[in-house]
Amino acid sequence: MPISRPTDVTATLDALAASPDADLLAGGTDLVVEVNLDRRRPEHVIALRRVTELAGHDTTDGRLRLGANVTYSEVEHDLAQLVPGLAMAARTVGSPQIRNAGTLGGNLGTASPAGDTLPWLLAMDAEVELASPEGDRSVPLANFLTGPKSTARRPAELITGVRLPRVEGPQHVSKIGPRNAMVISVACFAIVLDTTNRRVRTGMGAVGPTVLRSPDAERAVTQALDWDALTCPEDAIDAFGRACAEATAPITDHRSSAEYRRHAVGVLARRALRRCLST
């Protein structure tokens, strides 16, 4: 099986154009599991670790760009000030070994409804940057995620990073899983109180075919909040939890019942909101 090790995006796209069925390998924490479980048989692997443009982060015009190869460890240790919610999400992922290897690009590439960075990225209205021989494009995350483990990425395209606005205000991400660590989310919730735009942003994971948000819940709580004091009436908090839960479309499997997923995400929503409010 051939392995390409390009060092820049152009070479990567060339390799991809030459063998469109090649598997892109970032940290391998999803891909190698798939191979082990015999769900995927790579005929050709393109290893992305050396592609310089996929590394690191930068800020231009007030927008933040995170490279596809940014790992969870980098997020939790180096970017905690810049993207606190994403750092919280990163800390819930796997184990230190997994966090050293796993990347944002991989989480996006897999596009599991339980991908733990996705709720926060969705809350932030992140855009996925894609490069291809036809040129670059960026797709809002909500459009990028088309279903469980399916995306709008075209075969010749490479995810180069995500772009998001810089947002002021408290944020929180938490997840529930069937064990305290190293688990796939049963429910994951991200909230950002965008104090600049005075808007509550949310994202919910593992409770639908893709990560999703509840525009109704966001709208109602945005109105109920006292943005100067950062307080919210109790009944509005409860209503927020309920509205979030209602917006979900979970499944039942051996990890959890659908009913519990829906319930749990409502609890997380209330708690996450409370954490962001001043007491």
Partner: protein
Amino acid sequence: MTTRSVGAPVARSEDPRLLRGEGRYLDDLGHDAFQIAMVRSPHAHARVLDIDVSGALEVEGLIAIHTFEDLPPRLQEPLPLLLPHPSLTAGRTQHLLADGEVNHVGEAVVMVTATDRYAAEDAAERILVEYDPLPAVVGPERARAAEHAVHDDVPDNVAAHLEQSIGDAPAAIGAAPNRLRFRLDIERSASTPMEGRGTYARWDGDDERVRLHTSTQAPTSVRAAVAAFLGLQLAQVECIAPDIGGGFGVKIMHPWPEEILVPWAARELGHDVKFTEDRREHFVSANHERAQVHWIDVGFDDDGRVLGLDVEFIHDHGAYIPYGLIVPIITSTQLIGPYKLENYRVVFDSVYTNTTPVSPYRGAGRPQGCFAMERTIDRIAAHLGKDRTEVRSVNFLQPEEMPYDFGLTFQDGRPLRYDSGDFPASLEKLKQLVDWDGFEERRAAAEAEGRLLGIGLATYVEGTGVGPYEGGHVLIEPGGTVQVSTGLSTQGQGHQTVFAQIVADELGVDLADVRVVTGDTRRFPYAVGTFASRAAVMSGNAIHLAARRVREKALRIASEALEVDAEDLELADGQARVVGSPDTAIDLKVVATLSNPLRYAFDESARIATQFANPGKEGQPPVTDDDEPGLEATDYYSPMSSTFANGMHAVEVSVDPDTSDIEVVRYAVVHDCGPLLNPRIVQGQVLGGVAQGVGGALYERMAYDEHGQLQNASFMDFLMPYATEVPSVDIDHLETPSPLNPLGIKGAGEAGVIPGAAAIAAAIEDATGVVIDAMPISPSQLHEQRLTTAQDRPGDTT
């Protein structure tokens, strides 16, 4: 002065080697061996219509492909039924490779041998097996409903039906002032050791011998099985258990099909052959346990005294029953726990299902029995509004009633007879340890913080040290090293350390001079195996007896050499010396040299020994009729019956009122395994058991769907508790000695796991008010139960 090491928390001598990565596990052996990959059934139940191997033949490195048809007649026979029982009327065991029908996902169909595992898997994948799927029978109740049969010739799916009783339970229940009836479920789980199964065989064509390394808890039995299937004399088969990365019961099953196929292939191919199970295989092709459904009918008086207990249960033993009825028989008898039941009836059906077969997993039927009994006691307490410890107290068998014969037959076919224990004292200790009486204050404090706190307890009695025997060999070499061996194998229990302690004390030598070898038929060919918390009791006592013989012989030789009375001598500091005048002494290595008339005069000991040269007795040959050369002895320990250890656990859980998340916040154990040979090791055994108990209560389960597909066959979804889930555990010991063996000890290996599910269920019930009648339980399940029970306490806002 040699200090006594038995009873001291001696550090485990095996750890430095294992921690440095110097262990030799099965897959560390045989680097040049051919490797095996199995084509396993993807179906729970199907006929095998055709096997097409043509696509695999081109694979580079392929050595051989074998199907059932390719095996010689002896290897076409099914596996032995290891433990026949008169009530096991429809026992079916698997073939080494499927004979036209598969009965569970993971059953071996084709064996592929290649130069390495990669090639073997590549070839295995190209083999096309055509199946005709049949309806799968999954779960004990569907098995008994018998809409479909697992085996055509067992239409009711029932392999065995067994009833045992004491007194007249139905009559006693009928006459009792109070009666409760309910159902209790325990789901399937499995041992899941870190190292899966594995076998490596080396055939020596010149010597016509096979040397087998296998990751087993029963090397001597594997040896006998291999000899029988391969038509070899026992002397032609050596079986060695190398370092084993955990067993927890599953490796007592013997022989696995691979344990026969691998040495057979090695002989056929004239080359080393190895099979190393991978994790996915382990989930579906290594045995499981636990799944049982119980129906309880209990009558009791107003104090909570059980007047009659009637238990009916279904035991799901999976697709085959090679290990017989051990697990359900243990449930039947050990369910009784520390209680004096005078009217008890228990009846079970052991049923076939299209799932992985069952054999004992640490605890072996006891966690289920404990769950059934302890949940029953809790129900009685709830019904009468009494404290749960009080209801236990009124039912306890009292210490002065020991030994107590229940009139039932235990797993070893011998009477169920408790030999020791002081249950009221244990309970008192437990109440102190967990501050049982102060709990309501803690509950109130937690409630103020919005947490639901609950406490529960569970008690058990565990038959340990099951017979028939184990043996030990002890030899003092002329170089001074003490060589010890016993036949059973070790999987992390610290046997090397503990057996060395026993010998060091008996012979007055330094621990570091004692070398212990376990599980090597070249060193000790007779053994039963490591299961039923028996190694310390059985091999420990056998080694103790053998060491005592060596001691006697050493004293005799020393007394002749020093010309003092043996009674005036002691063994200490590696010497035999005169009590009170230690300058009159002789080194044990010199004694060892003297024990052999041919002294191999190659070393210092031999030179010293010459000083003591004894002309021998007049008119006697150099080795007298009642003597043997060498300072060594073999002895066996064979008890009349098992010795019964016991214990009690109390646990506090905190339940999140919103998410139903369950956290174990406090765990207390009172444990009675008699005198502790090594408190550190017992502590480790108990702690590990508790962790496994927490796993069994809250995380670990085999999630089969209705088609017999295991949904969570990986560590991604079969969740073991981590350090984040295992609480710190307070352990206290009661040491009531067993009158049955010289060391007075009782087994400790399984104890920690037994009451986990029962105690944690009780604590969750206490915290939430929801009746917990099925384990394990997840937050998702608890949430649903809380909704349906609609008993939510104030403070629960959902």
